[in-house]
Symmetry: C2
Subunit: 581 residues, 2 copies
């Protein structure tokens, strides 16, 4: 490819709305162009990366036995009503009406359509297992699209759906996809981690996220370097402390803590460690009548160690809180505790309040907690002596680095990641609602066991850049780079020798199947080099009159500190070897 036949369009400055580095670099490098909030044109440079991502995904999906088809972008509402998602999905689901006022949606995923296909096409146990995938445009009407392609509205996703005769077979399909994903992200040259994830409202059986590791990632993930355990922080279990509770040693004292309403402030004011304080969080659940009107509210007091944070996913799985909860209002808190927030605690509160103590709170003794009196805390509080033993002890906090791994293999470490893939064993959530059955050997209809498997194709661009960049620009792994090699001739328009050497080398590398671009724009070296460092092509070859006089060209990897001179006749072989390394 020659630059003059392509479109190279770089910017010195990123637009001000680009918040994250991948967004900034993609805009500056001319990979994407904004059309509307969260809707981007994929410019020629960006599209080349997308095509490479798609090709790797497609190859590995087919190798794993999945069959490609293509489901529509615009889907009729009827199927979505059948699954219940038309009603339940929030405003992220883009709904529209056609000219006949019939309801349609722009697909954010295709569970309904594929289940409809499966219930028509896979009628016998002999047709199973089957795994269908497509790579198609999706739309999710985010309230606040941001981070460029990482949380856009229109995006490209690969979604696969497996259909199996029973749970065991579905587990095999799941594992095949898990393994395929491991190969896919490995081939892309990305550092990633598969982490156990929460199954969400679908209540599926098993679920893993594939996270590209990046300091700027939105997701917190934890792992055990010893055992390989890894999970999304939403999912990672905090084990109960094994040490028994110490006997009370201090008296309960109501202590003034004027204006200190956070555990941090109280601990500093009293000169005690933060982990000896207890944090109070007040939730509310509303009982509804048959018509959905609230008929009564239950107040919950959640107790966490002062140095811990609440995990709402875990809370949402507790008996009595599964139907949904909210944070209590200030009015509800004052009516219940007789005190404003910031000074709450478990001692002396109405028996109607349901207390949940975190596993780390239950073994505490001589702890500090609010006195339910503004500007006062208790010190020396003890379970059993000052307040009844908590009846509900549960894991309701996020793990922290150093916590024991749930598999008891060593301390946990933490990383941040960007979710680029998700494998999900759905069970019969959709097949039940949509009556997707097959006939077993006895001719009896059985519900299909389903799995779904997504990869964010366009999001991968952003994730790869968040992981691989420096102050000069992007650094593409070879497998995803828009071009593998760029030839930068100095004085292309002035020197016949340079022009001829550059063109010959270009043709030779291209003939060898290397994805090479020759920068024949005639730019000055500084601007030309800056462009290609920004674009992040793995290998740069500089051809100049001066070098050619000595029979040399300069080769420099994108991560190399300096160029090396190579004899011109060897450079093609050198490039091939360098790229293969």
């Amino acid at each position: 490819m020659k630059a003059s036949q392509f479109l190279i369009s770089t910017l010195k400055e990123a637009p001000s709305d680009a918040e994250v580095v991948s967004h900034q670099l993609m805009m500056r490098g001319g990979f994407i162009k904004r059309l509307s909030a969260g809707i981007y044109n994929y410019m020629p440079m960006g599209l080349r990366v997308i095509r490479k991502i798609e090709a790797i995904i497609r190859e590995e999906m087919v190798a794993a036995g999945a069959v490609e088809l293509l489901m529509p972008v615009v889907q009729p509402a009827e199927l979505w009503q059948e699954s219940g998602r038309f009603q339940k999905y929030g405003p992220e689901l883009l709904r529209l009406k056609d000219r006949h006022q019939r309801d349609f949606v722009i697909q954010p995923t295709s569970e309904e359509v594929i289940t409809d296909i499966a219930r028509q096409e896979l009628r016998s146990y002999r047709a199973l297992p089957k795994n269908f995938f497509h790579i198609q445009t999706k739309f999710r009407d985010e309230r606040r699209p941001r981070f460029g392609v990482m949380r856009g509205r229109e995006f490209t996703m690969k979604d696969a759906y497996s259909f199996d005769r029973d749970v065991e077979a579905a587990g095999r399909s799941y594992q095949q996809m898990f393994d395929a994903y491991t190969r896919i992200f490995g081939r892309m040259g990305l550092t990633f981690r598969a982490v156990a994830a929460d199954n969400g409202s679908i209540g599926g059986v098993r679920s893993h996220e594939f996270q590209v590791i990046a300091d700027t990632g939105e997701d917190a993930i934890v792992y055990c370097p010893t055992s390989g355990y890894a999970a999304n922080i939403e999912m990672a279990e905090a084990l109960a402390p094994t040490a028994p509770r110490a006997a009370p040693a201090a008296d309960l004292v109501k202590t003034p803590t004027p204006g200190r309403s956070t555990c941090e402030d109280v601990a500093a004011f009293l000169g005690v460690p933060l982990h000896s304080t207890v944090k109070s969080i007040v939730l509310a659940t509303d009982a509804l009548d048959a018509a959905g009107a609230p008929v009564g509210t239950t107040i919950w007091l959640l107790l966490l160690r002062g140095d811990h944070s609440l995990n709402e996913i875990k809370v949402g799985k507790l008996e009595g809180l599964q139907g949904g909860f909210r944070f209590a209002t200030s009015a509800e808190i004052e009516a219940t505790f007789g005190c404003k927030p910031g000074y709450l605690g478990p001692i002396g509160i109405p028996p109607s309040v349901r207390i949940v103590a975190d596993r780390s709170v239950a073994p505490m003794s001589d702890f500090v907690c609010g006195a339910n009196d503004a500007d006062f805390h208790y010190t020396g509080a003890n379970w059993g002596r000052d307040v009844a033993e908590p009846t509900l002890v549960a894991d309701i906090r996020n793990v922290v680095a150093g916590d024991p791994s749930p598999d008891v293999a060593g301390p946990l470490a933490m990383q941040r990641g960007i979710e680029v893939g998700h494998v999900f064993l759905l069970g019969t959530f959709y097949s039940q609602k949509m009556n997707a059955t097959f006939l077993d050997e006895a001719g009896k209809p059985q519900l299909m066991q389903m799995g779904c498997y997504g990869i964010g194709v366009t999001r991968l661009l952003g994730a790869a850049i968040e992981q691989n960049h420096d102050e000069r620009g992007m650094i593409w792994p070879r497998a995803l780079a828009p071009f593998e090699v760029v030839i930068c001739p100095i004085g292309f328009d002035r020197s016949d020798a340079v022009k001829s050497a550059a063109t010959t080398l270009h043709d030779e590398l291209a003939a060898a199947g290397i994805d090479v671009i020759l920068d024949d724009r005639g730019e000055r070296p500084g601007a030309m080099f800056a462009d290609w460092e920004l674009i992040g092509v793995p290998l740069r070859i500089v051809i100049s009159d001066r070098g050619l006089r000595d029979g040399l060209v300069e080769v420099q990897g994108r991560r190399d500190a300096a160029a090396t001179s190579q004899p011109a006749p060897n450079v093609a072989a050198f490039v091939k070897a360098a790229l293969a390394a």
Copy 2:
């Protein structure tokens, strides 16, 4: 590929709503599956054809210097308001609102978005010429979707857009696309014809349709076998007859023609040739005031030879009719002519009626026409003697086979075709409305000259089948076939020899880069053969125990009347040669 790892899903009967053979065969062959009116799932078999179509298009577009990008499916209304298409496009344009009640459209084409890109990216004459293309999902909310993928609502289209500095350069870009299209459809193995087409309301400079020839095609096309002239019938000029008008020989006679209101009936009743009769067609144009309210109506009488048909496109280009016209109502006709339709003619009508005589009507003498009196016609009518010479003579009819070619090279022939591509020199229609300019050498802004170039990717499936099928099913050209070769083993599950020979041959052909499928489903031969004849794979190889005993396998082309036996060891070489032929 093995059939067991794919999805083969054939039907004995096509669904009743499948009107045309391509739709019937695609449904029966499991190429597509209906999701909603005009919205289809592309099943694995159909998608393979689409991918082959896309690959050929992509290769030839890049070879012709076009650069691929990807523009969004969901596009903001603002750009469409700028071009005026948001207001002017009918209900075929699918409009929607996002969660913030902002207007969007689902793209039917992308002129606005690409012009927006061009005006930002192509700022200097040095950046021109440039040609961008994408292959993307389109939506057109057809009032009555039909013919399967041929007139669907959601479809895939390749659309390219060229930007040039002047008309001459734009003409070169147009020719490059014309040539690329010729290669594309040629490589697909289709019989096609590029025909000159009307430029429509955009008033572009030049336009050709690429028509796949098929008896079932919706479009009538004409061509001159001698010169190669070819045009859409809307476009093809009917030359004026060269023979001078004969002198009047008959008297004007008002003749009873009871109940004969068509030229055919009148000619038969009177015993005269149809081409000696004149057909009267009454149109109306409405003058509007500034607010768009009708303030006056002009009645037009169009005169055609009885054996000719009206060409509304040509009529719409006449002075006074360019602003739009309609057929007059019965009430308007009776008020003007004092006679009901069926007996109208030019003699003795109010001078306010504007007469347009077709070029073939002007030289007629002694003709038959309506007498403006129910159940009466005139015979022996003559221009100049019985009615004033027509002041407006124009080409307003469709050409018919045998008419002289507009390039005066011989008689025209007619064919029917399916439009699969369109190249269109737009001029400055969009660049003017959207102010897409570049700076010329003098630093002066100039409007870009644009062209647009479409190929209906999914429609090509239907067109290829309409052209290539028989009573047993589809007959795919090799370049588009979902598989090039199918291996049909007889008794795959019973005979180890058959299984082994079939598998070995499959692996050998696959290794040679041939797109082969092994039917390992264990179907009975009759059902298996019927499936593959329906699916239309070019070459079938049958492997049986009986054949193997003689060291032979059977090879049969899809169009061959019978199979030939080939020595088993030679079959791979034979297949390669047969496919290359």
